[in-house]
């Protein structure tokens, strides 16, 4: 039996006031693609349903600090998919968003809601983590900014307090010669991935890898880094000139991908055994790293 009051704040402050008042009794509804399902499947009885779609100032996709991107929490996945800014400046994010679900879901689902849901098989979270993205949350008491990697605490759980509202996601400017890529596999297009891999590599002018981040999704309760793979890449020559054209170093990428496959231990799921998921980690890490290396210019 749900007997909730309805709120439709038009400013972040108004929204935070309601959240302060109701705490855990409040349920924020943005795009509804997770909230409406949870409401029914978990038989929740919130005291307040807070429709945040009319909160002003959270719909922008903007450049920050020259080459970074700031996404308002209410930006829909469809907005991200169609944004020329995202396509140009963040191809890995464009790749990831384009694989999510179907057009109806992407039309409604918001990036803020997606962060808040913390789905263990998210395509988008590993890309954000690979790019060192942060999330800003506001409350009546102020605001704080956290690395997305730290914000996602467990499957379907974040460090968001009941009185806090997600307001924006910032992808910082990446160092020069950084490339990123995303690769995933599912049985049907639009299904959650069985495994997904997001990679970001920074290469020096000499072609040597300076930084590497490889994040796997759907193999653990949260997106996880393949640390051994990352370490294998740093200091290796990732890009080299062969016959005059810039070519990525396949051998190093394969070695790193193999390490990723060895260090990640999925438990398996209905669609795939643990062994198969381990195999996929290797394949998709290689694909993501190859894309990232090719874009690191």
């Amino acid at each position: 039996m749900i007997d909730a009051r309805y709120f439709e704040p038009t400013t972040v402050d108004e929204a935070c006031q309601v959240l302060s008042e109701y705490g855990r009794g409040a349920m924020v509804v943005a795009g509804g693609q997770s909230a409406m399902l949870r409401l029914r499947s978990l038989r929740l009885s919130p005291q307040a349903l807070v429709n945040v779609l009319n909160v002003a100032g959270l719909n922008g996709i903007e450049v920050n600090n020259g080459t970074g991107l700031t996404l308002g929490a209410l930006v829909t996945l469809r907005d991200l998919e169609k944004s020329p800014l995202v396509q140009q400046r963040c191809p890995a994010l464009h790749e990831a968003v384009s694989t999510v679900s179907d057009v109806q879901v992407r039309n409604a689902a918001t990036i803020g809601g997606h962060l808040g849901t913390a789905h263990p098989a998210s395509d988008i979270l590993p890309v954000l983590i690979a790019l060192n993205a942060t999330v800003t949350v506001r409350s009546a008491g102020g605001s704080r900014t956290i690395a997305v990697e730290s914000f996602i605490a467990d499957a379907f759980r974040t460090t968001l307090e009941p009185n806090e509202l997600i307001t924006q996601i910032d992808i910082p400017p990446q160092p020069a010669r950084t490339g990123s890529g995303y690769a995933r596999f599912s049985i049907r297009d639009g299904d959650f991935p069985i495994v997904g891999a997001a990679a970001a590599v920074t290469v020096g002018e000499d072609g040597v890898c300076r930084e590497a981040r490889l994040v796997l999704t759907s193999v653990a309760p949260t997106p996880i880094r393949a640390a051994a793979a990352e370490q294998r890449l740093v200091g290796s020559t990732l890009m080299g000139t062969q016959t005059g054209s810039l070519r990525h170093n396949e051998e190093v990428i394969r070695a790193a991908a193999r390490l990723a496959s060895e260090e990640i231990n999925p438990v398996g799921e209905v669609m795939a055994s643990a062994d198969y998921e381990k195999h996929l980690v290797g394949v998709l890490a290689r694909h993501a790293l190859t894309k990232a290396a090719q874009r690191a210019r």
Partner: protein, 151 residues
């Protein structure tokens, strides 16, 4: 506690009262009485509840009714009638794309939404655009041919 909801459905204005947690499909079917929009899975997956809300294709079981306040909804009833079939409906009938018919309203709205944005999609784009509507009878091939005939 009930709240007033005012929305336009297929060009006609409706004033109803809903509870905070009611979904848009609840309102369309139970308050307004338009049964063309279906409830299939109640889980956001089947897409038979699909409508066009302020120009965007969405699953109405996942929209809070009150979020549609002041907005325009297009349901299958607004696309065409038996006496005045929309070209999309004609194409579906011509290509045998209707079996039990349960997914058909959603397929047609998804098609309309696609063609409104992209009048000449290729087969891959069609299949991707209709991905959010499931058909238990397996009419996908016929639906795809029907849509291709309109491009």
């Amino acid at each position: 506690m009930k709240y007033p909801l005012q929305l336009s459905v297929n060009g006609e204005r409706y004033d109803v009262e809903v509870e905070a947690h009611h979904s848009l499909v609840d309102v369309l079917r139970n308050e307004i009485g338009l049964m063309g929009t279906k409830v299939g899975c109640e889980d956001g997956r089947c897409g038979t509840c699909t409508v066009i809300l302020d120009g965007k294709l969405v699953k109405s079981c996942l929209v809070l009714a009150l979020q549609a306040n002041g907005k325009e909804v297009l349901t299958i009833e607004g696309v065409g009638t038996a006496d005045n079939l929309h070209p999309i409906q004609e194409a579906f009938l011509d290509h045998g794309a209707v079996q039990c018919g349960y997914c058909t309203p959603a397929m047609i709205l998804a098609t309309k939404s696609l063609l409104d944005e992209n009048p000449h999609p290729n087969e891959e784009e069609i299949r991707r655009a209709l991905k959010g509507v499931l058909c238990r009878c397996g009419t996908y091939t016929h639906v795809t041919r029907a849509v291709m005939s309109l491009t």
